[in-house]
């Protein structure tokens, strides 16, 4: 459902992605690992359409269409979801209003009827349960004053509400204690369906005990340097990344 071919991207004057190719089929879970600064978040942001990043080469086909030609909101409406590594705060906008607006925008784009606030609250009940969040979180401003863990859970809540076809989870595990990690992982697993796919970005093996990947890819200096099955994650845990990562000078 997603074919990335030789993708290059830069931010400012810096080339960050230097030729990434990756195929994701429905029902699959891919893990992307790699040291800090290797370009994992950049890849996720580029796929979601962040205008701060410039695509300089390659192509991305999603369900047969050119993903890179779409605006960020169009990508979201087509089922692309990014759980941000650093979720953004929106002062004065309640989480409930934000979620409902997102939900209704996507429904409207698909020609479905919008839901009113009461219906939506009903719908939210189960979703909140899934990530073990209190309904009180809905009346707070988006991510304002949320702890690191609450922010991450709020990302998964949004994912649960929007039911994407392809979810990109960027370091959703970082900063979570083991209980929160389990909640988040359970949430993700509960949303898994044969026709959707998940790309999990992480640099710890830990999360992959809970969200079991079909494939593991190692990203270094903007390229996938190794791919394997879930055993690769364990190998990385034992050996670190150094054996895979050439010094950057050699690439430049």
């Amino acid at each position: 459902m997603l074919e990335i071919k030789d993708l290059h991207a830069k931010v400012g004057d810096r080339d960050i992605l230097r030729g990434i190719s990756l195929d994701v089929a429905p029902g699959e879970v891919h893990a992307i690992m790699g040291p800090n600064g290797s370009g994992k978040s950049t890849l996720a942001q580029v796929l979601a359409g962040n205008p701060a990043y410039e695509v300089t080469g390659g192509s991305v086909t999603y369900q047969g269409i050119d993903l890179l030609a779409l605006q960020p909101e169009e990508r979201a409406q087509q089922g692309v979801f990014l759980a941000f590594q650093y979720p953004i705060e929106i002062p004065g906008v309640s989480n409930a209003y934000f979620l409902r607006s997102a939900f209704n925008s996507i429904r409207a784009a698909r020609g479905q009827e919008e839901v009113d606030p009461l219906e939506f609250l009903d719908y939210m009940e189960k979703k909140l349960e899934l990530v073990d969040m209190d309904v009180e979180m809905l009346s707070r401003s988006v991510n304002m004053g949320f702890s690191g863990g609450e922010k991450k859970r709020n990302e998964i809540l949004q994912m649960a509400v929007l039911e994407p076809k392809i979810a990109l989870l960027d370091e959703t595990d970082s900063g979570l204690d083991i209980d929160a990690l389990r909640i988040v992982a359970n949430g993700v697993n509960a949303l898994k369906r044969p026709d959707n796919a998940t790309i999990v970005v992480t640099h710890y093996q830990r999360l992959l005990n809970y969200i079991v990947p079909d494939y593991v890819h190692v990203l270094a200096h903007g390229k996938i340097v190794k791919s394997g099955d879930k055993s690769l994650a364990l190998e990385l845990e034992a050996k670190g990344y150094d054996w895979l990562v050439e010094p950057q000078g050699a690439l430049a």
Binding site: A48, N50, E73, I88, E89, I90, V93, S101, A102, F103
Partner: protein, 478 residues
């Protein structure tokens, strides 16, 4: 990255139509005879004519103020039409007699003079160009002793009230624009709520400039007698024209002991086009006096229109324990300029004031907050809280704050918070990544920024204000 936020276009100004209606218009220019002519046309008593003439004489000695942070070419006061009234001018027996063309215009403005408004519980007075054309719900209000009528009618029917309070808060000599207004004001709204009466509906005036080359100089006077409560809404629109039009209004509020006046404005005068051609010069003096103990005056304004806005709704806190509030959202886009804020003058003991100002600048707009908090020697334990936030959209706009503080009683407590932020590309991306359009994302972020002010507006106004904000900023991100 900055490029995405830079392109600025404005959606067509929705209220920019002209209504082709016959008007009785006096020649351009201003001298003593103009003042006499206006007064005569309105059939005014001598005391009022004398008051106008005094104001005119005073205005002649005054200079147009230039201390504000706005720039505009010199105004030729002899090139303005000071009186224009839709014909016919016969007294209207009921609102159904209003000219159908006028009614159609109000329809386009989204206001209904008829009983439709019953559902919304809003009584409406409409002032077009210079003359009030109809007040709804008058009968119902009068059962409670509430007077809600045009200024002209108040002069005829309740001269003792007008004479007692006119100029008692904003004297005819107050400032250049107030003096001009005092000399040539044509109409406006008048409200009196008697002792102990809580006005059961929102009172609303819709101001409309229609005729070309005219200035609008309306005057509003609201009196809440002891223990009374009234909430008043003011809306404004004007046609699109490529010349600038002058609007110099005066609003006076008087809250007696234990009375509360809540005054809300959604100002959407035509702002001029993207190049800065045309638009309304909005030079307004608004002031309220908490004359008795425990009185409260609360100003809420959402300023989205006008080429230039110059206004400082203020409160004189004379009664002990009285309360003054100012909640403001001012938005400038394209070439709009706003210099707005408030004055809180603490005279009585334990007086409290709150100022919340949210300035939003987009395009090449220039937004200034100017506020004064003055605590006089007798105002023991006076308190003020000021919060002044600016948001910038793009990098060609400006935001400025000019707070002035003068404290003559050292038991006073003053708190001041200020912030300036840029609307975040990361915020917009976050919302769009969730399927929300860029335009809606910007409106949402801005509405969130303005939340503390919007929550002060009556429900139906809050929605309108939020929509207006969206329209004003439409296209401010590319």
């Amino acid at each position: 990255m900055g490029g995405t936020i830079e392109t600025l276009v404005n959606r067509e100004y929705q209220y920019g139509f002209v209504t082709d209606i016959e008007a009785e218009t006096i020649p351009r220019g201003l001298d003593e005879n103009t003042v006499r002519l206006i007064s005569a046309k309105k059939g005014e008593p001598k005391w009022l004519l004398d008051w106008r003439l005094k104001a005119f004489a005073r205005w002649n000695t005054m200079q147009e103020p230039h201390w504000s942070n706005v720039k505009y070419p010199a105004i030729d006061y002899q090139d303005v039409i000071y009186y224009s009234a839709p014909k016919p001018q016969k007294a209207l027996g009921s609102l159904d007699e209003v000219d159908p063309k006028l009614r159609e215009m109000y329809g386009k403005l989204g206001i209904s003079l008829s009983e439709q408004k019953r559902m919304n519980n809003v009584a409406v007075d409409v002032v077009m160009d210079s003359v009030s054309v109809g007040t709804s719900f008058k009968a119902e209000l009068s059962k409670l002793g509430i007077i809600f009528c045009s200024f002209g009618e108040a002069v005829r029917e309740h001269p003792e009230l007008v004479q007692k309070y006119l100029g008692s808060v904003v004297p005819h000599s107050d400032n250049f624009f107030a003096a001009l207004n005092s000399a040539v004001f044509s109409d406006g709204s008048f409200v009196y709520v008697p002792k102990g009466v809580r006005c059961p509906m929102e009172l609303s005036t819709y101001f409309r400039i229609n005729a070309e080359g005219t200035g609008q100089f309306e005057r509003t006077l609201i009196i809440a007698d002891e223990g009374a409560y009234v909430s008043y809404l003011e809306g404004c629109t004007a046609p699109k024209r490529d010349t600038n039009q002058l609007h110099a209004a005066v609003v006076e509020l008087i809250a007696l002991k234990d009375a509360t006046i809540k005054y809300s404005t959604v100002q959407n005068w035509y702002a001029g086009d993207e190049k800065g051609e045309g638009g309304i010069y909005n030079f307004v003096t608004k002031r309220g006096k908490c004359a008795g103990e425990n009185a409260k005056i609360s100003w809420t304004q959402v300023e989205t229109g006008s080429a230039i806005t110059w206004k400082y709704p203020s409160v004189i806190l004379q009664g002990d324990n009285s309360v003054g509030e100012f909640y403001s959202v001012a938005v400038v886009n394209n070439h709009q300029q706003a210099d707005t804020g408030t004055k809180m003058i603490h005279i009585g003991r334990n007086t409290r004031s709150t100022i919340v100002s949210k300035g939003i600048s987009a395009g090449q707009g220039n937004n200034s907050y100017r506020g004064q908090v003055k605590v006089l020697p007798k105002a023991a334990h006076a308190r003020n809280y000021t919060q002044c936030d600016s948001m910038l959209i793009g990098n060609r706009c400006g935001a400025h704050t000019f707070p002035y503080i003068e404290v003559q009683n050292n038991s006073a407590t003053l708190e001041h918070e200020a912030s300036t932020s840029k609307i975040g590309e990361d915020q917009i991306f976050y919302l769009t990544q969730r399927g929300i359009s860029k335009e809606n994302a910007v409106s949402m972020i801005v509405a969130g920024f303005c939340k503390d002010v919007f929550k002060e507006l009556p429900m139906e106004f809050a929605l309108e204000a939020q929509q207006l904000l969206g329209i004003t900023l439409e296209g401010s991100v590319g």
